[in-house]
């Protein structure tokens, strides 16, 4: 079936919601995750934070972050639920596996240069390229 991917989900719960309602929402999402046979990597409650601008006339909200390993179908369902929910004023789902992998790759590349002769050649080439680019731009 569809591939497992890592997603980050952040949702903002209305400040009028009680702590119970917030944990209830979390429980709902957790239930969905187990139903779709996915994995909850991390969950973080940032608590009440002031919003940078009002959303639905609210000036603050409770932020919750969930990191999920799961399929797109699961995320689709969670997204739909959050959209319908009246307590959630805003939510964002971001797929992070690719970006994290790219970051990891960049880190390992820096630690272990590919060859001894090549980096110097690459650097010299890059320097030249930059010079040309600047000329064209100016």
């Amino acid at each position: 079936m569809s591939a497992r991917r890592q997603y980050e989900l952040v949702y903002i719960v209305s400040p009028e919601a009680t702590d119970e309602q917030v944990s209830d929402l979390h429980a709902q999402i957790e239930a969905l995750i187990t139903r779709f046979d996915a994995e909850l990597v991390k969950t973080e409650n940032w608590g009440r934070r002031k919003l940078a601008y009002p959303i639905q006339r609210h000036k603050e909200g409770t932020y919750v972050l969930e990191v999920i390993n799961g399929t797109g179908d699961l995320i689709k369902e969670i997204d739909r639920r959050l959209r319908v929910s009246e307590q959630v004023v805003r939510h964002l789902v971001v797929r992070v596996d690719q970006e994290l992998k790219a970051a990891e790759r960049a880190r390992s590349r820096r630690k272990t240069p590919v060859g001894v002769a090549r980096p110097a050649a690459v650097q010299a080439g890059a320097g030249e390229d930059e010079g040309v680019g600047e000329e064209v731009e100016g």
Partner: protein, 101 residues
């Protein structure tokens, strides 16, 4: 047609910027001091710009909450692109404002 107007706009923009620089330097009659700009993210070896890291992101959205252009911040193209995405995500979550009146 579209390509041509775009090209003209680009050139016009470049010219304007150049003029402004020249005016400033000419008016003050002394060479502008310019620090050599190095991409902050390359220097600090930050590979992933996290939209949740408000402190880092807000350094690139000055008072009016506009995204700081890289001609000023000196951020490299790769990181500016990632930063831009991060700022937009942070804005959606009201971690960073869209506008400040």
């Amino acid at each position: 047609m579209r390509e041509r107007s775009g090209g003209r706009g680009g050139r016009g923009g470049g010219g304007r910027r150049g003029d402004r620089d020249r005016d400033r330097e000419g008016g003050q009659r002394r060479p502008m001091f310019r620090r050599r700009k190095v991409c902050k993210f390359c220097a600090d070896k930050i590979d992933y710009i996290d939209y949740k890291d408000t402190r880092m992101i807000s350094a690139f959205v000055p008072e009016r909450a506009k995204i700081l252009p890289r001609r000023i911040s000196g951020v490299c193209a790769t990181h500016q692109r990632k930063l831009q995405a991060a700022i937009k995500r942070a804005r959606h979550l009201a971690l960073v404002p869209f506008v400040v009146e």
